[in-house]
């Protein structure tokens, strides 16, 4: 076992400036993950040439793979950096920012477009207000619960968007994650009251028909969410909605 961990990071000072690669050697410690490695580097920000440099900018919060913040490309694979355990990674460990979202600095990107898409597909249940009406929502069978729970764990991390060939700066495709949420809320017993609006939001340009069926999304999801199932169902339901709209019901 080597006494250092070799690390190579694609850096960029700000949007529009030129990217460059920088290498580091961090003292070995068992149980390091990529985020704890970047944390250790901040305490002594020196590159492999021995130069003192600005610490690498990155985003992290929970460090237990539930908030989605620290998503980046680790050795060519998009994933949460916190659960990328150093002992399981080939070295030098190569870190890059996600490529499908605007870069802020180094490994930090801006995934606002994903959150805006949730608004576009009305990814919520419409309620009268956040007060008690002394009634619950209708019962949900354990089988339906399991399907919904699968999708409600989506942390908007962007892995599925990163690997989707159709989602990029040149296309208006909304991407897999928001489609999954549109399905989930349309399958909810009261959320379905606004299913038509959600399906209409996914028709036309940038909508469901732009999906190229590459199925990368479902393989990249760190939570194994069955995104392609939702895409198939939404594909069918948007067609039904289109026909309903066409024939005036």
């Amino acid at each position: 076992m080597s006494d250092v961990i070799r690390l190579k990071v694609k850096r960029q000072e700000r949007p529009g400036s030129s990217p460059y690669w920088e290498e580091y050697e961090v003292p070995y410690r068992p149980q390091h993950n990529v985020i704890s490695l970047l944390m250790a580097l901040r305490e002594n920000p020196v590159n492999a040439k021995g130069e003192r440099v600005a610490p690498v900018t990155y985003e992290a919060n929970c460090v237990e793979e539930v908030c989605g913040a620290c998503t980046m490309i680790v050795n060519g694979e998009v994933r949460q950096a916190c659960s990328a355990l150093v002992d399981t990674l080939e070295q030098p460990i190569v870190l890059e920012p996600m490529s499908k979202f605007p870069l802020v600095r180094d490994l930090l990107v801006d995934r606002q477009s994903m959150l805006d898409a949730l608004r576009k597909v009305r990814a919520w249940v419409d309620i009268d207000g956040s007060y008690d009406i002394h009634e619950q929502s209708p019962r949900i069978s354990p089988q339906d619960w399991e399907k919904h729970y699968d999708f409600s764990r989506c942390m908007s991390c962007g892995c599925c968007m990163e690997v989707c060939p159709q989602f990029n700066s040149k296309s208006s495709f909304i991407g897999p994650a928001p489609i999954g949420q549109a399905w989930r809320f349309s399958d909810h017993p009261t959320g379905r009251y606004f299913k038509a609006e959600r399906m209409r939001a996914l028709m036309g340009d940038g909508g469901i028909t732009d999906c190229g069926n590459a199925q990368n999304c479902v393989r990249a999801c760190p939570k194994d969410i069955k995104l392609t199932d939702a895409i198939a169902k939404v594909g069918r339901d948007t067609t039904i909605q289109m026909l309903k709209d066409l024939f005036g019901r």
Binding site: E13, R14, Q31, H32, N33, S36, M39, R42, E43, N44, P45, V53, A54, P55, T57, E59, N61, C62, V63, E64, E65, V66, C67, G68, A69, L85, V104, R105, Q112, L115, L118, R119, A123, W124, V125, I127, G129, S130, Y131, D132, I133, H134, E135, Q136, S137, R139, I140, S141, P142, W145, H148, Y149, S152, R153, M155, S156, F185, H188, T190, G191
Partner: protein, 628 residues
């Protein structure tokens, strides 16, 4: 004569902040919501096990009264009781509301919300969504706030850091100064009311179960501007943390609630793999010491029991660990009920918890203390009056606090699954309180002269400029680590006055060194070291509050434990026995001296500590906590 178009700021987008935002927006007011990061990534997502509410759907005759009693006693009587009573009464309604928002509650075979058992209680009272309850509740609120955003009632300022409040000549809060974490520019935002919902302070202890942004810096900033801070000494150590160098990931209390058993080998240093050690060679210390509650005693009791096994009896594994064992349960049941957390253990610690016992260790988890907040008594019911502009208002008028950064509801120890409840409930109450407060405001923040705003902005700009100009000084990340190490060592599960004096001395030195922080990044774009350095300086101030409050409290209560002042229940004796009654009398005498709220106020030379009485009008302190 209410003001036209009031402007309201909420800082923090976890459960507390999002609930406050919803209620303020639903009253027709526009909210500016500030967060260090997209609100969906807030620390509320990390809460796993569930949220307490008396649904009474398990044939156990559970009652709201019992929830109230468990919460009060679990907190060793230190929480004001009327607000606790209100929280427990309103909890079932909150669960119904969450259900309408589409929260994916785990279901019984007939499709209604399921309940599980948690610590410190005897009835199943915890609603849950798999093992990601906090994430599910946070997302539900995030979705509702997004709907309000679409309606034009909410504007988000994500990637902005709160730096300070601005007070007018009369001392009323009239806005904030915040920093854009990309351009690093500071800006003034006027507001008619400001809500802080900025979460916990685990990072003061360096390593904790908290997210890396739970620094307590925002609470520290308003404390330094005159807001009172209460019960700082009460820090919860979660008994089932996973050891780790970067953080202590959490193994949910649900693991105990679903049947997990603590044990260590009876033979010290037993070399056998744990799964091969037979039952008779395992010491289930909690079941032996607390037969009535067993493995589901409250967190403070469990954490101290582990401390005793490990440090006093030297029976720990690899020095300081114990086993938490689920391997006797059906793997399918475990996957369904605890999937999310078993995954975390497998990913970070390695090993399949359905087959091999997990190794765990107590970790800093939650701050019961926080900003002083007011509340109004409803004399007719003995509960909290709602709505009232007094509820959740800090000692600075116009400033409100909710969620973990306030010091209400949990007294000296929080019960498991009461934090998602208090975060949601306090946010709701706080939002309603703000809506009531602005109705009574005579003048708008727009009428306040420019002076206090530009002065405060200049003060903040000067602080930034100085940090950027310093050279060859202390590294803020290293200094933070050293402070955390000191706090965990000297202000931990078991405390001594000698150790606390050393902590205060050490903090003084660290504070001095923090004046000389320099940054390895002098850039003006997304400069994370600058933001962290400011956080470290403010964390030190909170660390002093915590250590000083602990030094002053010469007793054992809830999570605060000083062995030199311990009052033990006589072994094998129960109410009615003369020995127990003698103990009860001593316990009551101690309450006369110490059943009071610690109040810290900022002074240039450190915190000034005073005390306030606790409202015990719901359940008088007659019954000592007893989980045997």
């Amino acid at each position: 004569m209410a003001i036209k178009k009031p402007r309201i700021i909420v800082v923090g987008g976890g459960l507390g902040g999002l609930w406050a935002t919803m209620r303020i927006a639903e009253a027709g007011n526009k909210v500016d919501l500030f967060s260090l990061f997209p609100v969906k990534r807030s620390h509320s997502a990390c809460a796993q096990g569930g949220i307490n509410a008396c649904m009474d759907t398990k044939g156990q005759h559970d009652s709201i009264w019992q929830h109230t009693v468990d919460t009060i006693k679990g907190g060793a009587y230190l929480g004001h009781q009327p607000p606790i009573k209100s929280m427990c009464e309103d909890a079932p309604g909150l669960m119904r509301t969450y259900d309408r928002m589409g929260v994916t509650w785990s279901r019984t075979p007939e499709g209604v919300m399921d309940l599980r058992l948690f610590g410190g209680v005897k009835n199943k009272r915890t609603c849950f969504a798999g093992a990601t309850t906090g994430q599910q509740l946070l997302y539900a609120c995030d979705e509702q706030v997004r709907a309000h955003e679409a309606r034009g009632l909410v504007e988000k300022f994500e990637w902005w850091e709160f730096l300070s409040i601005v007070k007018d000549a009369s001392g009323r809060c009239r806005g904030i100064v915040a920093m854009d974490l990309r351009s690093m520019e500071t800006r003034v935002f006027r507001a008619d009311a400001v809500v802080l919902a900025t979460g916990g302070l685990g990072l003061v202890f360096g390593k904790s179960t908290n997210s890396t942004n739970s620094t307590g810096a925002a609470a520290s900033r308003v404390y330094q501007q005159g807001a009172k801070f209460v019960n700082g000494e009460f820090i919860q150590f979660h008994p089932t943390g996973m050891p780790g160098d970067d953080k202590n990931r959490l193994m949910s209390e649900a693991a105990r609630g679903e049947g997990g058993r603590f044990w260590v080998p009876r033979k010290k240093g037993d070399p056998r793999p744990p799964e091969t050690i037979p039952e008779e060679d395992r010491w289930h210390f909690l079941e032996e010491w607390y037969p009535a509650y067993g493995n589901t005693v409250p967190r403070d009791v469990a954490a101290r029991a582990i401390y005793k096994v490990v440090y006093e009896q030297g029976m720990g594994l690899e020095n300081d660990l114990v086993y938490l064992d689920l391997s006797h349960k059906d793997p399918d049941f475990l996957r369904r009920r605890l999937g999310g957390i078993l995954e975390i253990y497998e990913k970070f610690a390695g090993g399949d918890p359905t087959k091999i016992p997990m190794k765990i260790y107590p970790a800093v988890h939650y701050s019961m203390g926080g900003l002083w907040v007011d509340w109004e008594l409803d004399t007719a019911t003995g509960a909290m009056k709602q709505p009232s502009p007094r509820n959740h208002q800090c000692s600075i008028p116009g400033l409100f606090a909710c969620g973990e950064c306030d010091g209400a509801y949990h007294g000296a120890n929080r019960l498991g699954a009461n934090s998602l409840l208090s975060a949601s409930y306090s946010g709701r109450v706080c939002g309603e309180s703000v809506a009531a407060y602005i109705k009574g405001l005579a003048d708008s923040c727009e009428d306040v002269p420019e002076g206090p705003f530009s002065d405060e902005k200049k003060r903040q700009d000067d602080l930034n400029r100085q940090l950027l100009a310093n050279r060859d000084g202390e590294n803020p990340f290293l200094l933070h680590k050293q402070m955390g190490d000191l706090m965990r060592e000297k202000v931990g599960i078991v405390r001594t006055n000698k150790g606390l004096d050393e902590a205060l001395e050490g903090l003084k030195e660290i504070k001095e060194r923090a004046r000389n922080i320099s940054l390895d990044d002098s850039g003006s774009w997304s400069n994370q070291p600058l933001a962290h350095a400011r956080g470290v300086q403010d964390m030190i101030v909170l660390a002093e509050v915590i250590a000083k409050s602990a030094r002053m409290r010469d007793e054992c209560r809830g999570s605060h434990w000083k062995p030199e002042f311990v009052l033990d229940i006589p072994e094998g004796k129960f109410p009615g026995d003369p020995e127990f009654e003698e103990y009860r009398a001593k316990w009551k005498r101690n309450n006369e001296e110490w059943l009071k709220t610690t109040v810290a106020e900022h002074q240039p030379d450190g915190p000034r500590i005073s005390y306030e009485p606790v409202d015990t009008s719901v359940l008088p302190a007659d019954q000592p906590r007893d989980y045997r």
